[in-house]
Symmetry: D2
Subunit: 470 residues, 4 copies
């Protein structure tokens, strides 16, 4: 994957024992969803206490910082940030005092009507510390709590005002709720632990705690967990057509997670199989772009009966890019991250399977590296259709200008990246691989059909089409 970045993971655990360590471990499991900051809030019997900091879970939530945190019910968060290092005040869970006691919230998603909501509530005298939509939602929730004195009613009132996408875990004093937006855009599932329950972005965290997957939170549902029970408080009345984000399966989620009934690894392998069926290039070996492209490549290899090999060594120590003083250094940074394995590549006709192409710049460099060590042919298969439209639901691809497929035809892209052939999976092929009805998926980034109203989006898209095709 050489493109979009995802944002945030949430978790909540209620148990018969102190849950701080379990929250910490589950955040490490979903760390891939956000590496900018991490936090844990627990209810200690009288109030909610929060520890959060910038950095990975290992650093932000290390043994010392958690030493005094104790509680049998709590929530956690890992954050991805699009705008560089943040103040720790932006980290989540976001925790406040209210007339109803302490409230803490973790969110994954993007509130589509954030600007309108913010403007409205500021005009009503609300003050906000940050630009975070989580702070805004928390403050709205607190207002509804002051009115209704009832957590469930307050939550329902809050989400009714809030337009997609969100997966929330919310702690209101000693009660823990999990909430998923009415479209089911972002994942959220429930697990049974020994003497406890967990609500979390990805099921892999349930496995890591030796728990059992129970079910996904339903789109629009408000679920409450205790050490003993799972209580569904139903959802808002205006339930929408489901629209699960297809990119969770293609790239975001861990391969070992099961999302809305479909295991991510299996979907990716089927993507590879369908790519083999749809494109059918004759090559000597299939290689992945590590790490996310492996399952795709294995599927392709098995379906096409072409040997699978590792063609790149990925440097796990080079995750974060340095601030590099000059252009020469910046180009060298790509070589620091990936290096071809000569014995795999030399003299071979290769097929690379990548999960997606957004800009295409890294892929271009990788192909040139393969040619330098003697690849005879380099063909590319892509596990998702061309990305042409921005995402407003929590994926960091907001600027249309970055999409290579918006400016160039597939043939042009093939030439630009220097491949011998380039095949994207079809939209229908992707839908088949996911194994869900097409109308239950959000495919907006590849077909510009958004499940929610996006103010001005239709006009922008039309003007782009006009510009390109007259």
């Amino acid at each position: 994957m050489t493109g979009p970045e995802h944002k945030c993971g949430v978790v909540g655990i209620a148990a018969a024992y102190d849950v701080v360590s379990a929250l910490q471990r589950s955040l490490m499991i979903i760390q891939h969803r956000g590496q900018e900051s991490a936090g844990i809030s627990v209810f200690d019997g009288s109030r909610i206490r929060t520890v959060k900091d910038n950095g990975l879970v290992q650093t932000a939530l290390d043994h010392d910082s958690l030493a005094d945190l104790r509680g049998c019910i709590g929530i956690g968060h890992v954050m991805y940030s699009t705008s560089g290092p943040q103040s720790v005040i932006d980290a989540q869970p976001f925790t406040v005092s209210s007339s109803f006691g302490s409230v803490a919230m973790s969110q994954n998603g993007d509130i589509v009507n954030y600007a309108d909501l913010r403007k409205h509530y500021l005009s009503e005298g609300m003050s906000l510390l940050t630009d975070s939509d989580t702070e805004l939602i928390t403050n709205i929730l607190v207002r509804h709590l002051a009115e209704s004195k009832d957590p469930v009613r307050a939550l329902k009132a809050t989400v009714s005002e809030t337009e997609a996408s969100y997966a929330l875990t919310v702690l209101i004093n000693g009660r823990l709720f999990g909430i998923r937006d009415p479209y089911g855009l972002r994942p959220l599932c429930i697990g049974k632990l020994q003497e406890g329950h967990i609500i979390v972005s990805e099921s892999a965290a349930i496995d890591a705690l030796d728990g059992t997957f129970v079910r996904d939170v339903k789109p629009g549902e408000i679920v409450e967990i205790t050490a003993d029970d799972i209580i569904s408080h139903g959802g808002p009345t205006d339930l929408k057509q489901k629209a699960h984000c297809m990119f969770e399966w293609v790239y975001f989620a861990r391969p070992d997670s099961v999302i809305d009934g479909r295991e991510v690894y299996d979907v990716r392998k089927r993507i590879g199989e369908i790519l083999a069926r749809e494109s059918g290039i004759d090559v000597d070996i299939v290689i992945p772009i590590p790490d996310s492209g492996r399952a795709h490549a294995i599927g392709y290899s098995i379906q096409s009966n072409t040997p699978y090999e590792e063609g790149f060594m990925k440097n796990r120590f080079a995750e974060r890019t340095f601030i590099l003083p000059n252009q020469e250094d910046r180009e060298a940074a790509v070589s620091t991250k990936m290096n071809p394995i000569r014995s795999t590549v030399e003299g071979k006709r290769l097929l690379i399977v990548d999960d997606s192409i957004v800009r295409g710049t890294t892929l271009k460099k990788l192909i040139s590296m393969l040619r330098e060590v003697g690849a005879k042919e380099v063909h590319v298969c892509v596990g998702s259709p061309p990305v042409i439209a921005p995402c407003y639901y929590g994926v960091d691809m907001k600027s249309r200008d970055q999409f290579i497929a918006n400016k160039h035809s597939i043939d042009e892209i093939c030439r630009i990246i220097g491949a011998d052939s380039l095949n994207y999976i079809s939209i229908d092929g992707l839908v088949e691989a996911i194994g869900k009805p097409k109308n239950e998926l959000c495919l907006a980034c590849v077909n510009a059909e958004y499940p929610t109203r996006i103010p001005g989006e239709k006009e922008r898209f039309q003007s782009i089409l006009n510009a390109r095709f007259g």
Copy 2:
């Protein structure tokens, strides 16, 4: 001084140039008012940006942390905390977004009706991050701003709800206000800088910036400063009887500051003179408890024609006490802070002048140290009357139990601390030294007469009197 600790200092500067460096320097000048955290907020033309952190100004606001802060108008704060190391979220200025733009606030004081205000606003749906009264006032201000759309009216509405004591500097987008409570409990004054103006807790900061003292902010007054002007917006309609805190002159403020027309050094020297007149002990030399007792001792020395000498060496590197593993170490810590100078003390009849006695424990240790190096007699004069009642206006003496004068007669205290004689200044003597009408001073801690209503205070005080005197 061996007792109360003060809290917080505020500043605001508007000028024709970048004020960050001037704010930083002025905070260093009032650093004695709070060493727990420090912060600066400036308006950069479009919004308010804040840098704040735990620690001294030198550390919290060092060159690196201020590198990107620029603005011609801004406020600052140093905080004293009674409850140990705080989260940086408690540091000030407290800065929020509102319907009216950015708002930042620095406060020195203690809101007497904080609990009631908090309860009221939480019940109206407000959410609060901290237990800080500054956050609460800021949020109340933002509500009033949303209603009236007028900073001055919103400020008036806010302070009308807020009962003593406070000295505030407030930044509302690019406008800077200084506000003092209607009693004038905490100091706040205005200075003219080259092409600018400053509002600050103590006039010494004006000197340090090579500025000119203009006047004190009047009790209850709202003053606005710009680079060119000082605009008085008047105060709330319910102006109270003045009640300046006498401890600012006795102990809190810098000797070189002038507060409400009286220079602190001069007040202290007159306290010493009056002590000499009132007590008239015959001794060989007068020595101060450094650093705060020097002016008192000099006054005593001059009035009584007794030589002034330095009798203690104070270790300026031992300000903060270590976490010490055992009792032996803790006692040794006092010796780390102060050491008698033998040639001054040996064989002499000494008079120590201290500014106040709260608990008496440190003074007891100091007297025993003097006797160990050969003092013949040790007499004590105290520059403030016996402290018997708690302060609700921003001085850290809230617990009645800590006051030795509440449990013991002066003779008993003299025996407890091991002195040959003990004389406190009279209340009238103190008033004379300050040089203001008695009814314009807050003397609550020495006579239990509070300028504001303190819920339940009268009853508590009566029951104490009953317990002591039947």
Copy 3:
């Protein structure tokens, strides 16, 4: 791989331009050889300046810390430490002033006669700051430099006293030398850069700098590089029989590195092929233990015509283990690191290919995790023979007690780890896979035949044999 940890990587670069950034990047490429500390020394025209710190290259050698370092010739080091967090004084390069100017040294290896050398030189009046063998060698070199005034002669004299294993890069003022021990135990190779040369532990670093591999440093050779030239100064006269460490290919080195003529990935794939030939288990799929076991499994898959699948998700954020408060937490830590992929595993007869077994504890846990998600059979193939003897040449397996193969037969190990079958590659199979004459390899850890004299080793080994077999 579930066992031995390797230690240290070295690099040296001479070029026509500032080499700091290239040193930093090359250390990131060999970061897997040591994550405890990192350092860079460059000659700035008059003296050697060193920056080093604990932590990964990204942290220890970040942009700020290197800001003032400049030089066209320099060396670097990454360190693995067996004894937890070290003082930064132990980090390398080790840099000193001498009669001959500045000397800096980076080392990978273990000096067998360290204790004797240390004792000897201390008795001659040497003082040592640390227990590091690098400090000792540097000080010995400085003595020889003072005598001979000739860097090459001094280096030869130094290595003559020093018994295996070592790969060194040494900076003597502006001259840069690479030295490999006479057995060739640890790797060291030479590359050509644009207007420069590099000496480095692994060839992958040459690729990352867009350089060209030139050749390995010969066992016992002293090589000097400049921006323009590679000069061989020959080696010590007593050249030994080659003894390349087989574990470099099996586990330590990056798959994309070429060591003494054999690419690591290719050796591992051949190990997999030979394992398939030697063991020939009939299973449904082959899965690796990621990341190091992938090439082995691919080789097995291709040779046995069994599908290759990913069976575990490895959490790249869980590298370092937390200090965990209780046993329950510690066991959970393994689940944090690895999670089975259900669709791959469920109902399948699996073959795991791991590179080596030292203790067997992690493998046991992994097998039980596979069974929990429904594996029908779990067979194990191991890419190296049973480890039975300690390493004295730089691999962290010094304690004989840790080797499960020293206490149990293969059948017993199979039962202990809970596998359905267990097959190790034969020693001859491993030799064939590496593709070098058996007598040019160090196989001491699997056959107890050490290339150097190890004081007391023969007796210890005999007593163990006696204990086990009578």
Copy 4:
């Protein structure tokens, strides 16, 4: 005092209990001798362990960093550095392993023949990490230890090679030695503690530990202390004429310390008295430059029967100067440190007593500040004669160019600093105040007569005289 900075303080304690806390406290007492770094070494029964870091004792040796340090015998050090922030490797004690076990050393002073010694030993094959003379002496000591196997003989051999000035505490395994140079240039004294002994730079540390002063270490003496005993091992045979640094009494040492029999406060007060006798200016009040000038001013006040007042408020939070972006800011920095007290100064004829003048720049600024607040006359008395010659014995006044008295007559200096009159104490007056024979004092900085040979010094001085007086 507006001039020279001193360097370093040393301590050693042997007791029947753990001495870490006592070492830490005693370093806080002598913190004024060096604020750059701090360190403690203790012998734990088998080896010496050292904790040291940059910063004040409170930071560098805080509770956490000392948590694991335990031992009944140990040494400590505080360092002043002339060359800005140092690597922690330069911090002391300097600790090494040797043939004789562990050796740690703390030093106060400057080795006059450092360059020659360094050159000699490097040529013999020694390697050095730093430019610190302490590292060199330690390494020389280790060489002698390896030869003689006798700590006392090795120490004697070492100091025989080492030319003034030094006060050392040395730990050789479990034995603790204190050594003072043959001239007695830097102070070092011995105290009795409860079940222990202490050797330390200043006697104030003995007081702070509730100990009893025993005696000064004699010039050239090697003293050993244990929990029970003080053992004198005599000194080198070539005992020199005593030459105690006069600046210790005038400025460096704490007023409460007694050095070579004379209390510092008392010497300073007598300096003030003699100044009054010698100069006899008629003024209204005498004010000190705080903090170091207070005793001088008190002496003047008493002798001349002129009232003593505090004329400046010194900001104890402004010790370290900021890196200030522009000239305007840098000038403002002086005002941040000192502010005149108006009621003291206005309309008065003042006499300032300062301890010394080196450059005169700060004094000039202070006098102008006094005039700005209305001083009628400002006269200056200086407690030491004009400084005209560099110090080679540990005081940071090495560059002749910085001395204003080297370029200007006293009248000129008076005009430059803007005073109404300027009087220095005479050399004989200073000698009288110190109360020791003139030939037992080092007065080199005021009369250019050095107790040791300084290569080239005589010629340099002559050429300066020639230049000035033809």
